[in-house]
Symmetry: C2
Subunit: 310 residues, 2 copies
């Protein structure tokens, strides 16, 4: 039954990260044609944005070593629509490859904490921006737009709770460099609803409105969807989600990872919030992908509905 809640946005954009953020943590390499079929199914299901892959160095993430092949194959199949699929570019070399392929949307990956900047980027919190600056400038010069992921925005496994001011400072630096949208990540899943509202409010106080923000929640402690609820009440209208709940953070103890796209779609549908996604088609894609990976989806909605989806 559709029962709206007063004060929530009328429309939400779901930013699908399953093919990139979900699959990058899979140990056994997924064939390129399976990835392409998964992405195509998600696009066909009405997901308005599907992040396809990452042009990371193959030594770091062997799962994504086929990034260029994947994008070439998708372009052959989907034409210009494939060039609209965002890709992660961790550095300038990654961006060069995206430019060669004529892609239109890229994303960079920053850290809100000193320790994660060191471990994940081999940079200090302050010096990470030196790495992003030329990449972002070159992307903008090429007419692309750039998304800025910020990880560890709520808690960090080594540093504990992360002050909202610190996250705002990192986000502002990225915006100043030309990033169009920030994706604020709860990488280890420790955010709760009040913290989400406090972070969005801190950005607003710093002059960064909701239209520049996306929220990216992990379900490690079962909190992802309540955090979306808090984000909606704070006015944020873009949410990252992963079809079937694929993915996870290697630093968290649990196997659970990204908010499942299906659970988010169910929630938005119940509230009468427009999202444009065909739930059954996403469930079918995720159930199919779960079969490819050989294990059940962690999404509650996929488990409840997979029998009835094709």
């Amino acid at each position: 039954m559709v029962v709206p809640e007063a004060g929530l946005p009328a429309k939400v954009t779901i930013y699908e990260v399953g093919p990139r953020d979900g699959l990058q943590n899979e140990k056994s390499v997924v064939p390129t044609e399976v990835k392409a079929a998964f992405i195509t199914r998600l696009v066909d299901a009405g997901l308005p944005i599907v992040e396809a892959t990452s042009f990371v160095h193959p030594d770091w993430v062997p799962q994504l070593a086929d990034a260029a092949d994947l994008m070439r194959g998708l372009t052959a199949d989907l034409g210009d629509a494939a060039r609209q699929l965002p890709v992660l570019v961790p550095n300038q070399r990654g961006l060069d490859r995206a430019v060669e392929l004529g892609l239109r949307h890229v994303a960079v990956f920053a850290s809100a904490t000193e320790t994660f900047a060191s471990k994940n980027l081999n940079r200090t919190l302050a010096s990470q921006f030196e790495m992003f600056e030329p990449t972002i400038r070159q992307a903008l010069d090429a007419g692309m737009d750039v998304r800025g992921y910020v990880s560890m925005c709520f808690g960090d496994p080594w540093e504990g709770a992360v002050p909202v001011e610190q996250v705002v400072a990192v986000g502002k630096r990225l915006l100043d460099l030309g990033v169009g949208q920030l994706s604020l990540g709860d990488t280890i899943g420790v955010a709760t609803a009040g913290h989400v509202k406090a972070l969005v409010a801190a950005f607003a106080d710093a002059g960064v409105g909701c239209e520049r923000l996306a929220l990216h929640f992990h379900d490690t402690y079962g909190q992802a969807l309540t955090n979306v609820h808090a984000g909606l009440q704070a006015g944020v209208t873009t949410y990252d989600a992963s079809a079937g709940g694929l993915g996870g953070c290697p630093y968290a103890k649990s196997a659970t990872g990204n908010l499942a796209t299906e659970d988010l779609v169910w929630f938005l549908t119940g509230l009468g919030i427009e999202h444009g996604v065909d739930l059954e088609a996403v469930v079918a894609a995720s159930a199919w992908m779960a079969g490819q990976l050989g294990r059940p989806s962690p999404s509650a909605v996929v488990r409840a509905l997979a029998d009835t989806a094709g």
Copy 2:
């Protein structure tokens, strides 16, 4: 990190239903001493109310055929504290057994829909009250208080969405019969946040305040905790939950069932809402129970923390 959200209650009562609602759906019979140990651990973990069992006819629910033995054993171990543990009494015969044992708190189980009243109670929606009336009156005469569960308050597998007016009518009848608190159950897990607020508002319009209401959510579609969030925003301060997420509805396709107590505790703690529960102790109890049942807990928090809990 604790970050409160403006306007939420300062304190919440968790009504633990794992030993009764969780275990009643287990196919293989759990030994009475295991049930008693589970209940004792939950009480020791600070859960203020732990529903222990149901005095249902053993032919209906063989799992709970040991109800009287269980309560006698608990009374020997815990003394008067065991008499404070609520039990479900589906009819007058069940109540007679609770009276004999000197118990203080009982609960009856009603349906908000015609079809479920027929299938679960073998009554019509209207005639179910004839069954409850003498039971409730006798319980009140014995100085007990009576909780009234209302199932299928949001959706019903046969009837679809359930009108809020219908739920309010059933709840009002139970209150008029002398029930102290209503537990409004989303038996098949289809509620979303706006629907929760609409139902609480409909009760308020009918003169039934939040202090008479508890909310009982199932996580079949991953919505349980957002529904609690909506309930808190509507002012409700009592929530049913099941340690380790034990239980499920036999009519839903998914194995997922009750909101996990641990996920609720994590959520409340993050919001700075007082609950009085020792999270690690509940996690340890649920991990131990999962070992007894031979399968992992569906609770995200238990899966994330069970390694570190004793």
